[in-house]
Subunit: 84 residues, 2 copies
């Protein structure tokens, strides 16, 4: 079982409503993990340049399209640390 010693901690969920907020969340979680862009890039097989752009909410027509669809449907997107 799990002891409640060091609490799982109510990790605030991130509300994603734009490419910018998505990027901010990614950066937040990346730093929380103590990873550099380069390390995360390597682990995910992605380009560091891409990650930098992602965190800045740039180059993401795609994300905007999807968020537009969700907004139109009245759906909210949230990100949160999987506490398990």
């Amino acid at each position: 079982m799990r002891t409640r010693s060091d609490r799982p901690q109510k990790l605030a969920p991130f509300r994603v409503y734009s490419p910018g907020s998505l990027g901010a969340a990614v950066r937040h979680y990346r730093q929380q993990e103590g990873l550099s862009q380069a390390e995360l890039a390597e682990r995910t097989g992605l380009n560091r340049t891409y990650l930098s752009a992602l965190e800045h909410g740039r180059e993401t027509e795609q994300v905007k399209r999807i968020l537009r669809v969700l907004r139109q449907l009245g759906v909210r997107m949230t990100l949160e640390k999987a506490d398990w």
Copy 2:
């Protein structure tokens, strides 16, 4: 305050872990709104062909990349009806 007459209803949140699950969620919410792909396409200014592909989770590289980053960071993405 808010009366509990017609409950806000515990709308099940969707867990997004792949392009496919994202598509399934979009379809679910679209139908819940009683919209056809064509109508949603018009309202969002997107192409119906694109929406069809999106709902089918047609391996959108973009989404996969982002989900890969989130998974690597141990972050969970969820979609849910904004009940307001």
